[in-house]
Symmetry: C2
Subunit: 272 residues, 2 copies
Amino acid sequence: MTNNSHPLDLAVHLEPVSENLWQGHTQPAYGNMVGPFGGITAAVLLNAVLKHAQRLGDPVSLTVNFAGPIEDGPFTIAAQPTRTNRSTQHWSITLFQHDGQIATTASAVFAVRRETWQSTELSFPDKKPALTLARADTSKAPEWTRRYDMRPIKGLMIDGQQPEHEPDAVTEFWIQDDPPRPLDFLSLTAICDSFVPRIFVRKMGRYPAGTISLTTYFHADTALLSSQGSQHVLGLARATRFGLGYHDQSAEIWSDQQQLLATSHQVVYFKA
Amino acid sequence: MTNNSHPLDLAVHLEPVSENLWQGHTQPAYGNMVGPFGGITAAVLLNAVLKHAQRLGDPVSLTVNFAGPIEDGPFTIAAQPTRTNRSTQHWSITLFQHDGQIATTASAVFAVRRETWQSTELSFPDKKPALTLARADTSKAPEWTRRYDMRPIKGLMIDGQQPEHEPDAVTEFWIQDDPPRPLDFLSLTAICDSFVPRIFVRKMGRYPAGTISLTTYFHADTALLSSQGSQHVLGLARATRFGLGYHDQSAEIWSDQQQLLATSHQVVYFKA
């Protein structure tokens, strides 16, 4: 399978309109309950910077604000550098649809990354390897979940299996694009949002819920991502606080080589 | 002391220029090594929304991107709603200076918050009360640190005291505006950024470092903040990953009544 025919590459595909303007199209393969999976929206917004002629370096952080629904169909993305420094670059990105209404806004920081002192402050979570676990049955979940091979350790809440333990807000799984695809910033961005809302896990049920703001910090560079290939990555997600209609979520994505690739934080609307 | 004469209120003071435009001025009282303390910049950006005629509800999230240095002196803030829904509102905020160059960008989500099911997933960190601990000597630290009464438990790295234990990237302290000021969204926003860069703590020394992107999630509403009054709040900060010139930081701010008021995440440039 060539890279361009992978469903993820189709979903993040952008046609240039002018220097700062791109045209894209939602793909049924990444459909959610309503509109596209938020992770794929985050990835296509990042792609508008990755493809930009003025882009400097690799992504360090990305914040996506889901301001309103995205309808299935074409969309336009405007991406422009707000400020370019010697080794960092700040971006403003907006997704709008036919009527010109803003559906999603984002900001990103890119940087030329160089070797420095390094340390990971968390221990690698010692879990059973992906291939010793059963793949989740996502046949009753939204379409986008079938673009992933998910191997739950706990708290997936997609395959209808109820946990046997006291509920907490934690999900642990191995996840891989299906069909397998070498990991890059685009697929890593989408995977950071591939956890169900924490309220589903904590209250063991389905509730109206949706991400309103999503921030991802990239700890890996291109070389580290390439070395991961298309193997499963380990995802962990938890929450600190539910209340007043919103909850947070913090996630870690680890390579199977025990490297922390990204951490991601979001705030989610819920009704419960 | 009336509210308006508090140094924090002076630092976040904005004069209206037009519906979406405000004029502010840096204050020496919150000066950092170069330019203003990042927390006060975040607070004044939030204030442009709080004071806006079209503002809906309370802040849920705020992301500030420190795109370039802010010079001491006047600045202009443009704040406009990018999308207003039934109970949520998304904002785009930009700080620029005399030459029109963008220094800081931000986005915020505001919402009308209503009681829902609630849970805090972390236990309140059981620490000695603020008033049983000594106040940190910040006489050799930047000016803004003297706008706070900081009572370190561990890892403050502002008062020159070296830790006796194996270094980690954790700071724990009680903090209060000095002079005391009733807690609100403005002061809480600033406090979320009042930790030194994690690299100082983890490597026990001073290194070139600066926040490039800062995201804060507000778990408290106005009523809860009011009930805190001007008592010390408990701040905890840690990191997950240092490498390739950047590290992250996650922080929790707790009331002395054991309520989680805010969580905050940032990515920081460093050289070490």
